[in-house]
Subunit: 219 residues, 2 copies
Amino acid sequence: MTVVTIERKILEKNDAVAAENRARFARRGLFVFNMVSSPGSGKTTILERTIEALKDRVRIGVVEGDVQTDLDAQRVARYSVPVVQIVTNGGCHLEARLVQDALDRLDLDALDLVVIENVGNLVCPANYDLGEAMKVVVLSTTEGDDKPLKYPAMFRQASVLVINKIDLVPYVPCDVAALRRHALQINPDLTIFETSGTTGAGLPAWCDWLIARVRRAHA
Amino acid sequence: MTVVTIERKILEKNDAVAAENRARFARRGLFVFNMVSSPGSGKTTILERTIEALKDRVRIGVVEGDVQTDLDAQRVARYSVPVVQIVTNGGCHLEARLVQDALDRLDLDALDLVVIENVGNLVCPANYDLGEAMKVVVLSTTEGDDKPLKYPAMFRQASVLVINKIDLVPYVPCDVAALRRHALQINPDLTIFETSGTTGAGLPAWCDWLIARVRRAHA
């Protein structure tokens, strides 16, 4: 497919800007992760619960990426954390340059943690480094246990897998053990959490892990 | 974003090949639809149930699009229908040229209906005409009722919306009336079905509609 060469040039430019973003985070000891998933996996809900749990201990800023609307930014803003919305107008992923522009609107010196919530898309955002310390991929049990095999790039690029909607396991044909096995088959280094944004299950373990990462970036 | 101009050229080429595909379908009175959705919405399960219900009355061929693996083609092939798998190797959508190549491997004269199951992605496939009569977008209730507003391009391009996993409504925060309202706000011409691939609910209505479309294309 002819698109490959074009993509390569775009990616080279993107990687250069991502390196600038990464240097900017490192200078301040900021921990930054890039949250990726299909639409509707529960990224925003997990983010809301995380902010609720941590906001008195960690200074959190959010960059929201969406194809259209600022619905997610509005949801997050209710928790009184600084949030910048990027609307890609049909673009299927965030790019480092868009994040760079968004960072200009945040007071980075007043933050410990920046969460970038990417556009809901399990394919394209895998290829775009935004300067984050790591990608966190969220997969809900309702999506099925075969998804790591079918969309391997994202699971290969991610450091953390959050298996969300764990409360729905009794009602959906998802074998969580198989899901974990498929994910580790693609990427043996994945750290895996099982959570429910609805019931709150598993979120304390995820939050503890996150605090440890924020402290390490600060040190 | 610089990508816009590049995309336009790719899309022009794509549209020319899509027109060739469309003429090929029209000559044979074939009905062809392009099934699009996020990963894990239940596209393949609906397709399996549809083939099961219709295969004695309608001659069905399938083009399976996946980023990796032929898991879906294997699932569909169990129903003894001709199926061609396109693996995009990381590509986030099917293009008309890929479908054209796949069509060469199907005996189109021996078919009444071709289903193209696109890569699981609610964003990019919206822009790529494959020559189909219509796009059918599948959205599962677990993805949330705000998705038509957040991913409007796909709902604008589609003629049919299948709201799947209707059996999970008691367990998920999804207001189906709001989902329908949001979808019709984006595209008032949408035909909407509510289905469950698991329980089979709503599938007879969908199959009846499909048979009527196949007959009309034949006439």
